[in-house]
Symmetry: C2
């Protein structure tokens, strides 16, 4: 087993917590679990062996493989899984990320989206690879709860999913986030790339919204902007 590359058919979870999340949520895609000789035989260990036995998943003891795949010292369990298919639920709200380039941000955004009950993520290419072990780690396993789909262009997505309100988040928008009005059954919250934000073409898409801030910063961090939007749009939900 070699370090992950984008074109690989398989990816993996680094560490016990993430691997247990994988086994609990996407067991049908798990190919193998690697364990380290230092792994303690505690409750979690027996839960893991139980799941693996029931699902015919091979458990391989290999310190060498774990040391090859993980940069951290205290990683004692790795789950190898087949990358699962992409699909989103059209009859639901979406988060849309246009050209996200930071793996840590993508993982944190997935975690926040799941936290606020929006389990469908659209990613417009070019973009980082959602299956990169770094994204999986920063999502803290939330990736195994989300539906997602990559599109080549925003228009491809829009043509496929037009049963909704579109809200692009832009510094040039005229409507304040807090004054948003939802007209359709569903909505999509759209965010641009980390450095530049959405380009001006999005000013004519749906109702652009702005999260007002002082002039002392250029912009909010992408995952903070997404979290604020998620909060405002879902704050009347009963979680």
């Amino acid at each position: 087993m070699k370090k992950y590359k984008k074109q690989d058919e398989y990816s993996y979870t680094l560490g016990t917590t993430l691997t247990m999340e994988l086994l609990n949520k996407k067991v049908e895609y798990v190919k193998r679990v690697y364990i380290h000789s230092k792994l303690e035989k505690n409750d979690t260990y027996y839960k893991m062996t139980d799941i693996c036995n029931k699902n015919n998943i091979e458990i391989t003891l290999s310190d060498k493989t774990i040391n090859t795949l993980s940069d951290k010292e205290n990683c004692y369990m790795i789950g190898v899984f087949k990358k699962f298919e992409e699909s989103i639920n059209y009859n639901y709200n979406h988060i849309v990320l246009v050209n996200p380039s930071n793996m840590g941000n993508l993982g944190t955004i997935i975690r926040s989206s799941i936290g606020f009950g929006i389990n469908n993520l659209v990613i417009i290419k070019p973009a980082v690879d959602i299956f990169d072990p770094k994204v999986i780690r920063s999502s803290m396993g939330a990736i195994f709860n989300i539906n997602f789909k990559y599109y080549d262009t925003f228009n491809d997505y829009k043509n496929e999913c037009n049963n909704r309100d579109f809200f692009p988040f832009m510094l040039k928008a005229k409507t304040n986030l807090k004054d948003k009005v939802i007209n359709n059954n569903y909505y999509s919250l759209i965010f641009g790339p980390e450095a530049q934000g959405l380009d001006d073409s999005y000013l004519s898409v749906g109702t652009p919204l702005i999260i007002k801030h002082t002039k002392n910063i250029d912009s909010l961090n992408l995952d903070n902007a997404v979290s604020i939007a998620l909060y405002e749009f879902t704050k009347d939900s009963s979680f």
Copy 2:
């Protein structure tokens, strides 16, 4: 010049953008600017030399120093500054971080705080060092706009600043963030350490608030939680 250590009297900004922010905001603390032989002589370069000349700041060309201090290839300017004094404005709103341990989070929180106009930050020890170059970098220079002060305990802070509403953010809180009521002229938003959150003793401090989320995640990322709180508390301000 050696790599930064917490006990050092000086710290530094890595890169042109941060160094210009330092020169614009805290010039009186700047001791020296290091430049790399690859630095282009563009507008920013002349602005930098102009500020340095006017303020008697030495400019030293040293690729070796820059390579020693920076892990990144394209860092061509470093500003060395004396760590400035700690102070907060008592007659203002505060963000209070109890035992923050992640440097990236601290920097991002500073950036968001400045973004929402709360320029006073209280940090309860033990905590990461705000002057670490990694914090400075992730704040994108917002650190040069913020007042901050470290306290040994939360009670030390509370005894010094009791002219305000205290809002600890806790999963055990009974009041929803959106239902907050502000009674005093000023308020403090209080957040616990990344992994554990605030301990139960904070349930009796002011009005604990919760940012409701689904059970599919354990908690929100700290900087996302702070950003959401900042948004909700300041959304009627005119930025």
